[in-house]
């Protein structure tokens, strides 16, 4: 054994350790993932070094006492990124409010006052924008299995706060997501959803923060239509019909929530609506349905091939169609092929 040319066992062990574990660790070498420093444009195709990590934990602004000005970029149906400046108010006790105060039809165009219709639309849907449009981390098992997480070693300043940039790279080609979070508190101050071709679909970045806002007279968001969590089959009698569930979900998805919305009469002939929300941890899929006694365009007969309308609202895709007197909807940030597949699996 003396004078053996073999490497000492300890050295061999260290070499194996240096290869790194399959599961990311905070101290292992990173992958060449989509990260860039600075607060400018971020490309998911950029190649810089990042540290592979476990899933981070965030604190969400709507759960804090604060006022936050935020810049939102959202792609319209023509493919152009429009900009909006929002103000989020939150009392740290479960109440929040979201308003649009500036609007720009393009990235290079100056802000202008928003239209009254845009203000009204924010008024009507602020609750959902905060809850579903704004990025949130879903089940950790899904986040671990569906994404590779990296942390950019270079911090960036967001609204005067030293922030860490995290990237979640989809293992199933659903599109990557980037996050900007306070390095000290984990407060989430920005996020970007990318399409699977690297194109920005939705991007939000905080520009001003105030942790002692004057909330006097604020009218907090409240639902336009009452709702409650739906449990199948116990709540079928309350729903009034037997719901259809998708037989297909994209890989890595799970049912996150089910809501019974008391929408009967909100539109003529409309029954209460079941909204199911599926998630891969970051991307959401809405599957909704209701009975329709007054069928309009697209009337179909049960057990026939269904005629489905689909459209692309920039970053969000949407499909709707009727099966008998059941109207079905699927909406998501996923590709249209995925939406079509989910929709088809709702049918017999």
């Amino acid at each position: 054994m003396r004078g053996s040319p073999h490497l000492p066992p300890v050295v061999l062990g260290l070499l194996f350790l240096a290869c790194g574990p399959a599961q990311p660790t905070a101290s292992s070498a990173g992958t060449s993932l989509a990260l860039s420093s600075g607060s400018g444009s971020v490309s998911s195709q950029a190649q810089t070094s990042g540290q592979q990590i476990f899933v981070p934990e965030f604190v969400y602004p709507e759960d804090q006492l604060l006022s936050a000005h935020r810049d939102l970029q959202v792609r319209n149906s023509s493919g152009v990124l429009e900009r909006m400046q929002e103000v989020l108010l939150a009392d740290g006790q479960g109440h929040s409010r979201l308003d649009v105060i500036q609007y720009s039809p393009g990235l290079m165009q100056p802000y202008q006052s928003p239209s009254s219709q845009l203000v009204l639309n924010y008024e009507n849907r602020m609750r959902f924008l905060i809850r579903y449009r704004d990025a949130h981390l879903g089940a950790r098992a899904a986040l671990l299995q569906n994404y590779r997480w990296t942390e950019d070693p270079v911090h960036v300043q967001v609204a005067g706060v030293d922030c860490v940039r995290y990237t979640a790279q989809s293992k199933h080609d659903m599109g990557d997501v980037e996050f900007l979070a306070d390095a000290q508190t984990g407060l989430l101050l920005g996020w970007t959803f990318f399409a699977n071709n690297g194109q920005i679909l939705l991007k939000l970045e905080t520009t001003q923060l105030n942790f002692a806002p004057n909330l006097t007279g604020v009218v907090w968001s409240s639902p336009l239509v009452g709702d409650q969590p739906y449990v199948d089959p116990a709540d079928r009698a309350l729903l009034g019909y037997t719901p259809r569930f998708p037989q297909y979900l994209p890989p890595g998805f799970y049912r996150q929530e089910s809501w019974l919305r008391f929408s009967a009469g909100f539109y003529p002939g409309m029954s209460d609506m079941l909204v199911e929300i599926y998630s891969d941890g970051l991307h959401l899929v809405f599957v909704a349905q209701h009975e329709q006694t007054q069928m309009g365009q697209g009337l179909q007969f049960a057990n026939k091939v269904v005629d489905v309308r689909q459209t692309d609202l920039g970053g969000i895709r949407l499909a709707e169609g009727d099966l008998g007197n059941r109207r079905l909807y699927v909406s998501s940030m996923l590709s249209m092929v995925e939406i079509q597949t989910i929709f088809g699996s709702l049918l017999d």
């Binding site: 066992p9 199933h172 799970y254 269904v306 969000i316």
Partner: protein, 150 residues
């Protein structure tokens, strides 16, 4: 133990011996008794100082230890491989527990996906052609409403 103590045999033994009558003792008995008595009176004697060195010099070299499998390179390579495999397969307990507590959908063959899509006729529509409910659902996910988009 003194010589007088040797002469005092237990009463029971003496009775047994007397019961033997005129049986003659074996020829070597007396010699063995004499040797035993001599050994009992010997004082502890130290071995010569050079005795251990002489003995050790005659012992065989313990080469057998280097032939043990633990000293072979293949053993350490195998150990390193097992270590690396364990690291590769290792998952943090919390993550493993969480991963098994949630049913995530599995990948589906493209043929099955295509079969689902074949159940409907999909056709492209302008955003304004979609129902209010549909656009509200997309709006909740962050899409611009038709009015916003105008």
């Amino acid at each position: 133990m003194s010589t007088s103590q040797h002469s005092e045999l237990p009463a029971a033994l003496r009775q047994d011996l007397s019961a033997l009558g005129g049986v003659p003792a074996p020829a070597e008995l007396w010699e063995r008794v004499q040797i035993a008595r001599k050994l009992e009176v010997l004082e502890p004697v130290a071995a010569p100082a050079e005795l251990w060195q002489r003995v050790r010099a005659d012992l065989p070299t313990p080469q057998r230890h280097l032939h043990h499998p633990i000293f072979r390179p293949i053993f350490w390579l195998a150990a390193a491989a097992v270590l690396a495999l364990g690291i590769l397969l290792w998952q943090p307990p919390a993550a493993s527990k969480a991963a098994h507590s949630l049913a995530l959908s599995a990948p589906v063959a493209e043929s099955s996906r295509a079969a689902f899509r074949a159940r409907a006729h999909f056709h492209q529509a302008a955003p304004a052609e979609m129902s209010d409910v549909a656009r509200s659902l997309a709006g909740a996910l962050g899409s611009l409403m038709v009015e916003d988009d105008a």
